[in-house]
Symmetry: C2
Amino acid sequence: MILTGVWREGTTLPREIELASRFDVSRASIREALSLLKAKGLIASKQKAGTHVRARFDWNMLDEELLNWTLSALPAQEFAKQILEVRRIVEPEACAICAVRGTDEDFARIERAYRGMDAAGMDRVAYAEPDLQFHRGILIATGNDFLIAFGATVAAALRMSFDLSSTNPGAPRKSLPYHRAVLDEIWARNPDGARQAMHKLMDLTEGNIITAMARQKKKDAEDENVRTRRTR
Amino acid sequence: MILTGVWREGTTLPREIELASRFDVSRASIREALSLLKAKGLIASKQKAGTHVRARFDWNMLDEELLNWTLSALPAQEFAKQILEVRRIVEPEACAICAVRGTDEDFARIERAYRGMDAAGMDRVAYAEPDLQFHRGILIATGNDFLIAFGATVAAALRMSFDLSSTNPGAPRKSLPYHRAVLDEIWARNPDGARQAMHKLMDLTEGNIITAMARQKKKDAEDENVRTRRTR
DNA sequence: ATAGAAAATATGTCTGACATAATAATTCTT
DNA sequence: AAGAATTATTATGTCAGACATATTTTCTAT
């Protein structure tokens, strides 16, 4: 209800006892749920005054759970663009740092992920996990704890891409040579090349998402069309 | 204890009842505390199996609270470099986006922050808040929820810089013309100029932090020297 | 030695009570 | 009648003790 804006910024939510009876659980369980939302910055509470929804600015959108909830609660359209914009900023630079600072062990881990993607063939489901490991491996190789934490955002983004790719099963596989290029530049310890290769991968990803969303939109429209004709 | 590595990755922490008696609070309070750490990715728990410390990779380091705890629990040295590295990646790009996409209202808010910094004069304490608002204003102007969430990291970084600047009270004020330059480029809606201006501001910040840490280190060494001479 | 059944146990949930602090209502003063 | 000080109210915060549930460990039978 907070994510979809039913309870918008500043709204005071029902008191704990009422929430407990509404969801038919104990007050203790409600408090555990609220403390989770509190930790992620969605709400804040004061004694007697009650619990209110905090400003969106204070929400920790880079949190993986919150991000997943958001993606399943709202149309992905807008978020997809935003996530991609941040990935475009962060991942190419992380990739350049990785090429300079990463150890051979780091690179081997990324290589293993690449092999996993290759082995998955056209199997979308099997392709997803090593794909994530590939991108995460690059972030880990930077040795920067904040870039590593950014992996949570990438994970959510890939999960979203995966969901969207259901209408176009062959799409993921097309990214394989782009990943290979990134890997080669990293092994060559060539930061500029690595940055550029990752940039191209981001371009491809963006293209895939845009066409997938367009297809989705078209499909929704057709379904809607069928539905209205039937009800007429 | 988790942050300082007393309880390292994989460690199973004492059971809730024992923690409750150890800290002399009820089990309910312990559970609230644990659920906070759970939400931030530090720990995970399973029935009967207990609660264990998760891998560092899973910690949500971009969370403001966690970041503040970390900065107060560990020597800032290493973290300062890492935070700066990420800020260098994100803020100049955010600044460029801001210059293109921001509204005049957004710019006015940033301008107000700038005026607040100017009005603070040599007062370090009064300078800190508008400084944060300045950087946050740029992120907000991008309209990207993930860049906005990055403001939490910037906030922690600035707080750290503030603490370090105690040995050099005049340092913050020196950043004022650099902020002015950023603001001018934004008003001019010049993304490349804005990117570059922010980059220069980051250079200055890095210089300040490095000298401040060196000074701190020297001071620590002197104190240590005095201490050992006394005990001899 | 192995597979399956039973016991043990740590987290998860429930109930009901009291503590505390912020707000709202009331009383008193000027 | 306006404002300050006091009292009452109330929603979150904390406590205690109990039971439920899901793993793990131990025991038993094959």
